[in-house]
C-alpha cells in the first residue's frame, strides 16, 4: 500500500503496518470528534512515525498514485477535523 505524507513524500507500507495505521486512524477520528488536541497530536505523531520508520520511501522519480494521503505533519486540529471524520483516512 502506498502512503503519502502530505508535503513530505511517498512510502510503501506492508499490509500489516497498514492495519496498524488504520487502528491509529480510528483513534485520530475519536480525538478529532472530542476536540482534544493533545490526544490528536499524540496519535497523529504515531501515524507519521509508523509510516516513516516502517515504510520504504519511494524514489523521487516514482510516478505512482497513493492509496492513502496523510495530512501535512504540521496540521492543526482545526484542519484535521475536516479530514479525520466518519471512517477516517482509511475506511474500516
Amino acid at each position: 500500500m502506498i502512503v503519502r505524507i502530505s508535503t513530505e513524500g511517498q512510502y510503501e507500507l506492508s499490509d500489516a503496518d497498514a492495519e496498524t495505521l488504520n487502528e491509529l486512524d480510528n483513534d485520530a477520528v475519536l480525538a478529532c470528534e472530542s476536540g482534544d488536541p493533545t490526544a490528536f497530536h499524540a496519535t497523529f505523531s504515531q501515524m507519521l512515525e509508523l509510516v516513516r520508520t516502517h515504510g520504504r520511501r519511494l524514489d523521487e522519480d516514482a510516478l505512482s498514485g497513493s492509496d492513502i494521503i496523510l495530512p501535512p505533519p504540521d496540521v492543526s486540529l482545526e484542519e484535521a477535523r475536516q479530514e479525520f471524520q466518519g471512517e477516517g483516512l482509511i475506511p474500516g
Binding site: 508535503t7 486512524d25 523521487e60 522519480d61 510516478l63 494521503i69 475506511p91
Partner: protein, 266 residues
C-alpha cells in the same frame, strides 16, 4: 472514501480524468500535462525567491534592532551617570521593547529558513518527477497504440498529478506563513516609523503617546531590576546632575562631570 485521502485523491483524479477526456490525442494530453508541470515548477521557484527576499528583509531589521539595543543601553548608562534617572528609565523601557522585538525577529528568520528548505526540497522532488514523466511520455508516444497509451498516460498522470497537488499544498502553507511574518515585519516598521526606537536625545519635554504605550508594553519589574543593576555598576550616590545630551549622544559630553562616571559612560 471519506477523509483527506478520499477528498484529495478524488479532486486530483477528477482533474486528471477531465484533462484526459478533453484531449483526443494522447500525445496532446501528455504535452499539456508536461506544460502544467513546468509552470508549477516555475511557481515554486518564484515562491522560494519570495521567501528568500522576506528573510533578507527580516535579517536587516534584526541588525538594526541589535544596534538600537546597544545604543539605548549606552544612553541609559549616560543618563544615569548624569543623574537623570527618569531618562534612563525611558531608555531601558525602549530597550526592553526592542529586545522583545529582536527575539521575535530571530524566531521569524529561523521559521523562514525552515520554509525555504522545505520549498527547496519540494522543488527537487517535483523536478525529479517531471524528468521521470518526460522520459515516460517519450516512451509512451513511441511504443504504444492510442488505446494502450491512454492507460499508461492515466497512470503516469495520476502519479505526477498527485505530486503537483502536494507541492501546491506545501507551497501554499509556506507562503501563508511568510505572509503572516510580512504582516508582523511591517508592524515593527510602523513602530520604528512612530519613533519608538529613536534616539532619546531627540525627545522633547514631557511624555508622549509612545512613552505611555511603552510603559504599558514593557515589564516594569524588568526595567527596575536592570536600572538597579546599572546603578550598582556605576557606583552609588555620586552621580552629578547634568548634561545629557541636548542634541548630543557623544559619550564625551559627560566628560569631567564627576568621579566614577567616566569609564562606564562609553
Amino acid at each position: 472514501m471519506p477523509g483527506l485521502s478520499g477528498r484529495m485523491s478524488t479532486v486530483v483524479k477528477a482533474k486528471i480524468s477531465k484533462m484526459l477526456d478533453r484531449a483526443e490525442d494522447p500525445s496532446e494530453t501528455l504535452e499539456y500535462s508536461y506544460q502544467k508541470q513546468i509552470e508549477l515548477l516555475q511557481n515554486v521557484k518564484k515562491g522560494i525567491a519570495d521567501v528568500v527576499t522576506s528573510k533578507k528583509r527580516l535579517q536587516l531589521q534584526t541588525e538594526k534592532m541589535q544596534q538600537q539595543i546597544v545604543k539605548l543601553d549606552t544612553q541609559a548608562r549616560q543618563a544615569l551617570a548624569a543623574g537623570n534617572e527618569d531618562l534612563a528609565r525611558v531608555a531601558l523601557e525602549r530597550k526592553n521593547v526592542a529586545q522583545t522585538e529582536l527575539q521575535s525577529l530571530d524566531s521569524q528568520v529561523a521559521e523562514l529558513e525552515n520554509q525555504q528548505q522545505q520549498m527547496t526540497a519540494s522543488e527537487q522532488k517535483l523536478k525529479a518527477k517531471i524528468e521521470s514523466f518526460r522520459s515516460r511520455k517519450e516512451v509512451i508516444k513511441a511504443q504504444y497504440s492510442a488505446a494502450e497509451a491512454q492507460v499508461k498516460i492515466s497512470e503516469a498522470a495520476t502519479g505526477v498529478g498527485e505530486e503537483m497537488a502536494d507541492v501546491g499544498l506545501a507551497m501554499q502553507r509556506a507562503l501563508d506563513k511568510t505572509e503572516d511574518m510580512k504582516a508582523r515585519a511591517s508592524a515593527v516598521q510602523e513602530l520604528e516609523a512612530a519613533g519608538t526606537f529613536e534616539d532619546l536625545t531627540q525627545l522633547g519635554p514631557g511624555e508622549d503617546d509612545i512613552d505611555r504605550q511603552l510603559r504599558e508594553l514593557s515589564s516594569t519589574s524588568e526595567v527596575d531590576s536592570e536600572l538597579a543593576k546599572m546603578k550598582a555598576e556605576l557606583g552609588a550616590g555620586s552621580a552629578p546632575q547634568g548634561a545629557l545630551g541636548a542634541g548630543s549622544s557623544d559619550p564625551s559630553s559627560s566628560e569631567g562631570s564627576g568621579p566614577g562616571t567616566q569609564e562606564q559612560a562609553s
